[in-house]
Amino acid sequence: MRDNVRIIKDSLFKILVYSLAFLSIVPLLMIILQIVKNGASVITLKFFLRLPQPPGESGGGILNSLIGTFMLVILASTLAIPVGVATGIFLAEVKNKFTEFLGTLVNVLQGLPSIVVGILAYLWVVKPMGGFSAFSGAVALSIMMLPMIIKTTEETVRLIPFSLKEASFSLGANYTKTILKVIIPASAGGILSGIIIGISRIVGETAPLLFTAFGNPYVNLNPAKPVDALPLLIFNYAMSPYDEWHKIAWGTSLVLIVIVLGLNLLTKVAGKKWKTKF
């Protein structure tokens, strides 16, 4: 009798776990479905090639924010990759009190709320430069992607067996050559996927851009001037009272989701293909 109760309890709990787990996927599926449904009808070739139109006029596009996002990502990567990769190798290669402390700081950096990063870029770049700019947005985004690059580089470099290094040293290569010609090529796949994960995180970041890149209804290629970005456009259009703009925001959300999920899939594929195996 007691055993029956235990078995019934066990089955009930199993049902509960299954239903809660699948229930939690529901809102996530709803989000994707709704974005595809509302966004797909807006997307045409013109959508990518035209500038935003004033409220009331139809046929606006997202060319300015597409170019802006592209520019921000390139600038931010240029700033973050060298520092990030160097720090990652440093953390993997050197073991002392400073690197231990640095590891903690990297975790702190990763947990920093994006809005605070925005304030920092405002204080460090916008204020001294006297105005909003693409460059200040890129500084904020580079701070956001740094911890990702550092962590994946560190983890990958740690995986490389010591024998590989020994072989390089025994052939007479010095430390610099060993790192540049043996360690970095051997861990290229991991480092690359870290960079792509970093990019996929910053493509959708909005908060750090609110008072740095600021937004711009025209195409701008000057890093010292404000630019628009896809997530900024979604925010501004979603909060506006115009139906036409809401439609564009749905379309832009679809574009953004495709970019982010595409980048994520790319890291999974890249991770498998160039996996650092030893």
Partner: protein, 291 residues
């Protein structure tokens, strides 16, 4: 060997830049908030009045808003994320379903918060409004509960992936010992797996809390942006992050800007402590389970 020392110096430089970045973040925030720290002192976090016109700045409504939304979000998301972790870590056998479930939660963790906010504004807010009309309260639609639900959906992938990792680290032999004694799966979960993984799951919850705490966009879009003390969980409110997002570009007075930056400083300090604690617990758990 000269090139070696130059190269090593370059690696060190990278590390030093990152360390200085964090240190200077704190110093810059502190300096920029000094004006408001000097003027309001401790009253800044205790006063419930935030009025840019009369230049009275107290952050209590926003601290309340942040605590309310993130704690509520945590409670809503917990049963779901633990269920996912148990399903993937205990119930499902290795195979297609298990892989695709963990794959899906990983991908969903990557969706930008602005998209959750946008969806919340156009789907969840009308739904909440209908519900509020039914139970007979002011149908704002936006408010603390709405923001908490959006936050909960956002942090489910996060908590579940950490819990999953922790549950997978529970040694096979003690689970098998439980089964061998005739325990049901439920009993193994409650008497062996969860007690063993307790500290790791706690750390996962802390890290998810840290994320909910600083989340900006998703919350800003659905919380209603009201600068008064929230009365109940249906009230429109503001969180520390959302008030910065709303008012920063509009702040023309120095004291207003400085007060907003001071809120940023507190966000920095709180998330710093939460993440530090979370990481210490997770690392301790990793070391212990390796023994």
């Amino acid at each position: 060997m000269k090139s070696d020392s130059i190269f090593k110096a370059m690696l060190y430089t990278g590390g030093v830049i990152v360390a200085l970045l964090v240190v200077f973040s704190f110093i810059s925030l502190f300096r920029a908030s000094w004006l408001s720290i000097r003027q309001f002192g401790l009253k800044f976090i205790l006063s419930p009045v935030w009025n840019p016109v009369s230049e009275k700045f107290g952050a209590l409504p926003f601290i309340t808003g942040t605590l309310a939304t993130s704690i509520l979000a945590l409670f809503i998301s917990l049963p779901f994320s633990i269920s996912i972790a148990l399903l993937v870590g205990v119930y499902l056998p290795d195979g297609f379903l298990k892989n695709s479930l963990s794959y899906a939660t990983d991908l969903l963790a990557g969706i930008p918060s602005i998209i959750y906010g946008f969806w919340g504004l156009f789907s969840l807010v009308p739904l909440m409004r209908k519900m509020e009309i039914k139970i007979g309260i002011l149908p704002y639609g936006v408010g603390i509960l709405t923001a908490s639900i959006v936050l909960a959906i956002m942090i489910i992938p996060y908590t579940s992936s950490i819990s999953r990792e922790v549950i997978s680290m529970v040694p096979e032999d003690i689970k098998e010992a439980g089964f061998a004694l005739g325990a049901t799966t439920r009993e193994v979960i409650f008497k062996i797996i969860l007690p063993y993984a307790r500290s790791g799951i706690f750390a996962g919850i802390l890290l998810a809390f840290g994320r909910a705490f600083g989340e900006t966009m998703a919350v800003t879009m659905v919380i209603g942006n009201s600068n008064f003390m929230p009365k109940n969980i249906f009230s429109p409110a503001n969180t520390m992050a959302s008030v910065i997002a709303n008012e920063f570009t509009e702040a023309t007075k120095d004291i207003h800007l400085s007060s907003l930056i001071q809120i940023g400083l507190w966000l920095f300090i709180f998330t710093f402590l939460i993440n530090l604690l979370g990481n210490i617990v997770v690392n301790k758990f990793r070391v212990e389970s390796r023994k």
